[in-house]
Each structure stands twice: as structure tokens, then as C-alpha cells.
Symmetry: C2
Subunit: 143 residues, 2 copies
């Protein structure tokens, strides 16, 4: 049997926006992982950007998600290896343009539905107005 005693005192932690944001984000990501087992939130974002911007180059994509060019190489290699993404050499022959494969499109169609369900579940403790308020305050914070 386990006796845990009193909960720990938290000090100034609960008053820090960064701490509360981290807790909220962890909770949301936990739900994301539970509903979308086959991909991480970050990878989903990358597929979504390719979907919305067919032919985008690796560098522009990397910049959009705040990753280094060199980091993006490995990420795309894995997504290509999974048959989700295709790289085609551009007219500027230094660049690779990126597209979803048919399989990539099919996956995204499935995921988008499940992610909408995830979003409803995550926001279920908030009213529609509160959810909008939260999105607005987060946007204001980020600037």
C-alpha cells in the first residue's frame, strides 16, 4: 500500500503563465496522442502545411514551423519513407517541391475528422465563447 502524505507546495509556479501553458499543452497533447496514435502533433502540422501549400520547398516549410533546414531533411525522409510525401526537384534545381501522395491525402482526410473530435473533447470544459476567448488571449500573448 502507498501512503503519499500531503501534496507538494507549489510556490510561485501556478502564477507563471509559462508553467500553466505547459500543463495545458501537455494535457492537450496527451489527448491528441490518444486519438491520433499514428502521428505526432508536429508531424501532423507538417503534413497539413504541405497539403495546404502543394509544391512548397523544404526551406520554406522549415521556416514556417521554426525548424532548421537540416532537421527538416530527416523529418521528410521519414514521411517519404512512410509513403506520405513526395519530393520533386524544382525548376530552380537547388530546391525540392513537396506534395502529399495519394496515401498522404487519404491519411489526412481520416486524421482531420479525428482531430476535429479531439478538438471538441479538449474544448469540452469550455463554452464556445470561452474557447474563442482563450484563442484570442493566446494570440495576443504570442503577438
Amino acid at each position: 500500500m502507498k501512503v503519499n502524505g500531503a501534496p507538494l507546495k507549489q510556490g510561485m509556479l501556478p502564477g507563471l503563465l509559462g508553467y500553466r501553458l505547459r500543463l495545458a499543452q501537455q494535457a492537450v497533447f496527451r489527448d491528441f496522442s490518444a486519438s491520433v496514435a499514428e502521428i505526432s502533433p508536429g508531424r501532423f502540422g507538417i503534413l497539413l502545411l504541405i497539403d495546404a501549400n502543394p509544391g512548397v520547398t523544404q526551406s520554406r516549410l522549415a521556416q514556417a514551423v521554426s525548424l532548421e533546414r537540416s532537421t527538416m531533411v530527416g523529418v521528410l525522409h521519414a514521411l517519404q519513407g512512410s509513403g506520405l510525401v513526395e519530393r520533386r526537384r524544382g525548376t530552380d534545381r537547388r530546391t525540392n517541391g513537396l506534395w502529399l501522395t495519394p496515401r498522404g491525402h487519404a491519411l489526412m482526410a481520416r486524421l482531420k475528422r479525428r482531430i476535429q473530435a479531439h478538438e471538441r473533447r479538449v474544448a469540452s470544459r469550455l463554452s464556445a465563447a470561452e474557447r474563442e476567448q482563450l484563442l484570442g488571449l493566446l494570440g495576443k500573448l504570442t503577438g
Copy 2:
């Protein structure tokens, strides 16, 4: 010279709480790192909990910050190596109690002031009421 063309289309991303939380958290952590170069947000949280709960055991601390016992070992080893934390064997001789060293206390005194400044800077785009509202909504989300 660099010509970047139009910004990427974002698709459903800006409507997802998880995405917006991640952006906000990244922005806040960037400011944290800039104002508190000598330690990460996570390590600060651990030192703060030891400060507020002198003698806490490794396992209880790990549980409080959602880390594995085995992960906490390395973290504490590093903090002890930096002369910030002391481990003392407990009456239950399986346990280690944790305390800040004088140096750890001194560091925390300095950091707390700088972190209050960081918090004011991060929240500077929000009114006091908006900051409270945001903390409240985050708490509601986390449940």
C-alpha cells in the same frame, strides 16, 4: 538577396487549441531562456519545488512534475553536481531527502526576481484582467 514569396497557408492549424498553446508556450520559453540563461524552465520548477518542500523525496518530486523516478536520478545528479541540491538519506533508508544548498538558495533568490520581470514582460501585451482570465481558462482546460 532573399525573396520569400507569399506566406504559407495554415489550414486548420490556427483553429486548434494545441497548436496555439504550443506557439504561446514557445514564445514564453524563449523569453524565459533570454532572461534566465543559467537554467531551463523545467529545472527551475524542480528547484522551486525542493525550495518549497525541503526534505521531499525523489519519488514524490518526480511524481509532482510527471517524470519517471529514473529520469529524476539524472536531473538531480546534475543539480547536485552544480552544487545546488543536497541529497540526505532518510529515516526510511530507501529514500533520499532533498534540500537546496546555500548556493541553491542564493541562485533561487536571484532567479525569482528575474522571473518576476520575465513574467511582467510576457504578460505585457495583456491587461491584468486578461492575464487572470487567461490563467483561469488554462486551469479550466487542464481540469
